[in-house]
Every structure is written in structure tokens, then in C-alpha cells.
């Protein structure tokens, strides 16, 4: 069996792993020094672009390309245009718990990536927006920021380079939607977290209306390694459609749930059976959600695919946030989908009618089927409502709710039909496997 990688997760389990001295002892902040002293912002940007690092927050947009959208000083300008970075540490997508691991075990790795990104884009500073339910993580990260200031790695004229850069830690307050980039920026401005209509995109109009770049925690954490080892090294890891190390968080009915750092050419089967120790209770596998609750669900016979963009696309789904949710044969798929729809209906910010109403209808409709009160045509109605949400909303939360709804019904149509026909849940006979 292949081994897990030890790049992003090198410090996990190490003593005092969050201390700046521990980090520096292992070569930490050397990449930042190389960038600031030996590389121009353009060279750093070029290296990250060449690495084809893709965003790890869910959408997979190439990071270097996104950085290059930020405006830079033109000939004759005295100063760089004011702009900000944002680090998205809102981690709230059901099934996703990899950023927490990085924040709590190795905050300096993230911070170093942020400072290098700041240099590449010549930004004024970075807002680190961490979800409100991670108070310990916020403390750990704030302490890392304070240590970096005390070493002269943040603040004015960092290490004599003439570059000024600040980091501000901000806590959210319990709203999944604030993980969406523009909702997050509204939240940073002390407002309700309601997504903005795009365009304008954050690169033109971000925090305080100033050009801004937002990336996920894991995306920034990759940056020091790219600068240290080069784009070619990075591209040699995993499949070409998703290069570099990737954190897969696996939960649900497996024997060893947890975060596994793997190349993206690992198959879902290897992750589930080799790394995560197979199915809880030794039972048959029934379904897998491969990349956070918003990604289309797979059946047990579709797991012989690699977990990169191309591999997952071949079975109609996507890598998303790397959160793999495994279900054995004791799970009722109607009940599982109902649980997810409760989530989306609750988290819809309410601005768009298709999302606000659609998620609520889906929740009610699925509850009805689950209760054995479904009417003929109800399963088809789920697909229809989902189709009417897709692509018709301000932000992707609408799509994020529609994709599981559509895919659960498509992949497990028999089970939805059986609920309607038998007017009861045919799965109730087997109690669901539990861990406690």
C-alpha cells in the first residue's frame, strides 16, 4: 500500500508544532526569505502559476491566475494600488475538516504562504476569516501572527525588503454562507453575510470595495512548498488535473476516519479501503459523497476512479473540498438527503427566490417521502425543483443544494420510488450503524 504524504501535514502530532521556533527549526520561513530577498513579485507569481496550484476551497480555480487579476502599479505610479488578501478559514461545508487540522497544528505554514502571496501581489495585508465555532483555532492563529510580528516577518519593512504587510484575525459567527467569498467580505465589513452580485469580482471590488484576492487555508499552505521546491516538483505529485498534495478528510462509515494527505491519483477505493480501513461493521458500501456535501453522490460501483478533476468528472462528480462522506448499507438515502436539505434550507441567505423557496420545498418534499406520505411523481419533482434552482441564483449555494438533490434521486431512484410505493421507509428494518 502507498504511504500518505508528509508535506502539508508534516507537523501534525509533533510537539509544540504551533510554535514559531519549531516551525523554523524544520526550515519554516525559508521560502518567505527566498521570495522577499531573491525573487521579484513577478517571479513568485510566475512560479505559482506554473505549478498549476488549484484552489482547495471547493471550486478549484487556479491560484496563480487569480492572483494575477489583482491590479499592480503601472509605470509612473508612485505607489501600489491598495489591495487586500483574504484567507478563507470559514470551513463549514459538511464533511470538510482539513483546514481545522492545518490551523490547529501548523498555523505558521499557512501564514508563510499568506506572506508570500502578499509579496507576489504587493497587497497591504490579509484578513484571516475563521469560523466562529473555532475559538481555539482563532487563538492559535492569533498567537502565530503575534510571533511573526515579533520576528519582523509582519509589519513595516519586513526583513529590510521595504515590503509592509499586516494580518488581521477575524472571527465569523455561525453562518455557512459566509464561506462564500463575497458574503465573507460583507461579513468583514460588519454586515449580514449576504453574497454580492458578480461582476464585479473581488479582484476589482473586494473588502471595503478595494481589489481583493481570496484563497482557502490549504491553498495558501501549499505556497511555501512551491517556492521552496519549485513548480516542477509540485506538478510531479498527483494527476495533472489536480497537482500537488491534497488533504482528503474521510468521515462516516469507515473504520479509520480522519484526514489523509495523498496525491490526487489515489483512487477513492484506495482511500476508503486501504487508508481508512474499510467499511464500519464490515458491511457493504452503499454510497460516497466525494468532495463535501455539495458534490454529486456516487454509488458503490463507481469508486474505482482517481480523486483528481478528470477522474471524478468521469463519474459525474468533482473533487470539491476533499471531504469524503462514506455510507454503508444501513443508511436510508432519503433520510440522508433530507438531512442535507435541512442544512441548505437553513443556511440559504434568502436573497434569491429559487434558493430560498427551492431549498425549503426540497426539504419538505423529501421529508414527506421519508415519512411514507410521498405521492407518485415526487421523486421526479425533486429533480425538477433542483433543475429550477441550478444556475439561477446570485451565489453557488443554490447549485450546492441542487447537486446533491438531483444526484441522490438519479443514483438511488429505486429507493425513492420504493418509499413512495410502499408508503413507508423500506430501510427502517436495519438500524443505522452508529459509532457510539
Amino acid at each position: 500500500m502507498a504511504e500518505t504524504l508528509k508535506i502539508l501535514t508534516r507537523a501534525v502530532g509533533m510537539q509544540n508544532s504551533t510554535a514559531i521556533d519549531t516551525y523554523m527549526h524544520g526550515g519554516g520561513y525559508e521560502a518567505m526569505m527566498t521570495a522577499l530577498h531573491k525573487m521579484s513579485p513577478e517571479q513568485v507569481l510566475g512560479e505559482v502559476k506554473a505549478s498549476n496550484l488549484k484552489g482547495r476551497g471547493g471550486a478549484g480555480f487556479p491560484a496563480g491566475l487569480k492572483w494575477s487579476f489583482l491590479p499592480r502599479k503601472r509605470e509612473g505610479d508612485k505607489q501600489e494600488p491598495r489591495k487586500f488578501l483574504v484567507c478563507n478559514a470559514d470551513e463549514s461545508e459538511p464533511g470538510t475538516f482539513k483546514d481545522r487540522l492545518l490551523i490547529e497544528n501548523d498555523p505558521h505554514q499557512i501564514l508563510e504562504g499568506i506572506i508570500i502571496a502578499g509579496w507576489a501581489t504587493q497587497a497591504a495585508g490579509c484578513f484571516f476569516y475563521i469560523r466562529g465555532e473555532m475559538p481555539q483555532g482563532a487563538k492559535i492563529f492569533q498567537r502565530a501572527v503575534d510571533q511573526a510580528y515579533s520576528r519582523g516577518f509582519l509589519g513595516k519593512n519586513i526583513l529590510g525588503s521595504g515590503f509592509d504587510f499586516d494580518v488581521w484575525v477575524c472571527r465569523g459567527a455561525g453562518a455557512y454562507i459566509c464561506g462564500e467569498e463575497t458574503a465573507l467580505m460583507e461579513s468583514l465589513e460588519g454586515k449580514r453575510g449576504q453574497p454580492r452580485i458578480k461582476p464585479p469580482f473581488p479582484a476589482g471590488y473586494g473588502v471595503y470595495g478595494v481589489p481583493s484576492n481570496i484563497n482557502n487555508v490549504e491553498t495558501y499552505a501549499n505556497v511555501p512548498h512551491i517556492i521552496k521546491n519549485g513548480a516542477e516538483w509540485f506538478k510531479a505529485i498527483g494527476a495533472p488535473s489536480l497537482p500537488g498534495p491534497r488533504l482528503y478528510g474521510i468521515s462516516g462509515h469507515v473504520n479509520r476516519p480522519g484526514v489523509y494527505e495523498l496525491p490526487s491519483n489515489t483512487t477513492l477505493r484506495e482511500l476508503i479501503y486501504d487508508f481508512a480501513g474499510g467499511i464500519l461493521g464490515g458491511r457493504p458500501l452503499k454510497a460516497v459523497i466525494p468532495g463535501g456535501s455539495s458534490t454529486p453522490v456516487l454509488r458503490a460501483d463507481q469508486i474505482d476512479v482517481t480523486m483528481d478533476v478528470d477522474g471524478l468528472k468521469s463519474v459525474g462528480t468533482m473533487p470539491g473540498s476533499g471531504g469524503v462522506i462514506v455510507m454503508n448499507d444501513t443508511v436510508c438515502m432519503v433520510r440522508a438527503l433530507h438531512n442535507l436539505m435541512e442544512f441548505y434550507a437553513h443556511e440559504s441567505c434568502g436573497q434569491c427566490t429559487p434558493c430560498r423557496e427551492g431549498t425549503h420545498w426540497l426539504e419538505l418534499l423529501i421529508a414527506r417521502i421519508e415519512a411514507g406520505e410521498g405521492k407518485p411523481g415526487d421523486p421526479e419533482r425533486i429533480a425538477e425543483i433542483a433543475g429550477n434552482i441550478m444556475g439561477r441564483t446570485i451565489c453557488p449555494l443554490g447549485d450546492a443544494a441542487a447537486m446533491p438533490a438531483e444526484s441522490f434521486v438519479r443514483q438511488f431512484k429505486d429507493e425513492f420510488d420504493a418509499h413512495v410505493k410502499e408508503k413507508r421507509c423500506p430501510c427502517k428494518a436495519t438500524p443505522m450503524t452508529s459509532r457510539i
Binding site: C170, A173, A175, I436
Partner: protein
């Protein structure tokens, strides 16, 4: 003795903390969520007089602040119990048995989710995914996160709370 809205607003340390937060970010408005957390932590809710106070400090209207308080799950306009028990109920935790944990806590405390014991000691709520799905069922008690919480483990956790 625990703070009241009046005692909190008369407390110089609270005023200093709010002012420090207002000065921490490039613009004071970014401090709003942090100021509301301060108040929620002290009083277990954010009453109108505190909303107005914070609004004044950050140059906002009280109506704006109220809009924010009501949007975010972690702020409450009604007082919550001294100890907040949050049971994660999203799919990965459900697969791990969160329904058993919730039923147990409901029975033990005599509470439905969203309510508070008469003596004001405990509030029980359900929450969405807490980003620790490998440790389901997960339970947050005030600021502390617990993993793999069986009913027996929940009993022990509650026993430790003063």
C-alpha cells in the same frame, strides 16, 4: 456574580476592549462581529442596550447592528443558559450516531433543542457541521469541542461543569 447589561456597560474594562477592537482593523466596522462576541460571551446574549452601545462605538446605527445580530447563529437576543450545549446534527455526525446523543441529552436535561433549563444552567441546541466530522458525534460545550461523544461521555462532561 454574573454580569448584567447595566454592569457590563458600566465596566471600564469592557469599554477598553471594545475600543481596542475598533482600533485593531483597518476600519472600525470590521470589529463589529468581535464586539458582539465579547458581549455574547459575558451576558450569554446581546440585549438592545448593548447593541446600541456597540453601534455608537463603531459609528453604526442600532438598526444595522440588530440586523447583524439576528443574521448570525452565534448571537442571541434572548439570554441563553450558563452552559451552551451544541450537538452537531449534520450528515457525517448523523452517520456516527448524533441522534442517539441528542435524544439522550433531551431526556437528561428535559429540554427540546433551542430551549433552556428553568434554573438557567443549560441551553441545548443543534448545530450544523462543526468541521470535525471524523470525530462524530461531536458536541461543543461553550468553547470546548468534544469528539466521539457517547451518552456516557456526555454525562461525564456535564458532571464536570460547575
Amino acid at each position: 456574580m454574573s454580569a448584567t447589561p447595566a454592569s457590563l456597560l458600566a465596566n471600564e474594562e469592557f469599554a477598553r476592549k471594545v475600543e481596542a477592537l475598533a482600533a485593531k482593523y483597518p476600519e472600525p466596522r470590521t470589529a463589529l462581529l468581535a464586539c458582539l462576541h465579547l458581549c455574547q460571551d459575558e451576558l450569554h446574549h446581546v440585549p438592545p442596550e448593548c447593541q446600541a452601545y456597540i453601534a455608537g462605538k463603531l459609528g453604526m446605527t442600532p438598526a444595522h447592528v440588530r440586523g447583524v445580530v439576528t443574521f448570525y447563529e452565534m448571537y442571541s437576543e434572548k439570554p441563553l443558559g450558563k452552559h451552551l450545549l451544541q450537538v452537531c446534527k449534520t450528515l457525517p455526525c448523523m452517520l456516527a450516531g448524533s441522534e442517539l446523543l441528542l435524544e439522550h441529552l433531551e431526556r437528561k436535561l428535559g429540554l427540546k433543542p433551542g430551549s433552556t433549563t428553568k434554573d438557567g444552567r443549560f441551553t441545548l441546541v443543534t448545530v450544523e457541521c462543526l468541521a470535525c466530522c471524523d470525530g462524530g458525534p461531536s458536541l461543543m460545550v461553550n468553547d470546548a469541542l468534544y469528539k466521539n461523544v457517547s451518552p456516557e461521555k456526555a454525562d461525564e462532561i456535564i458532571k464536570e461543569l460547575e
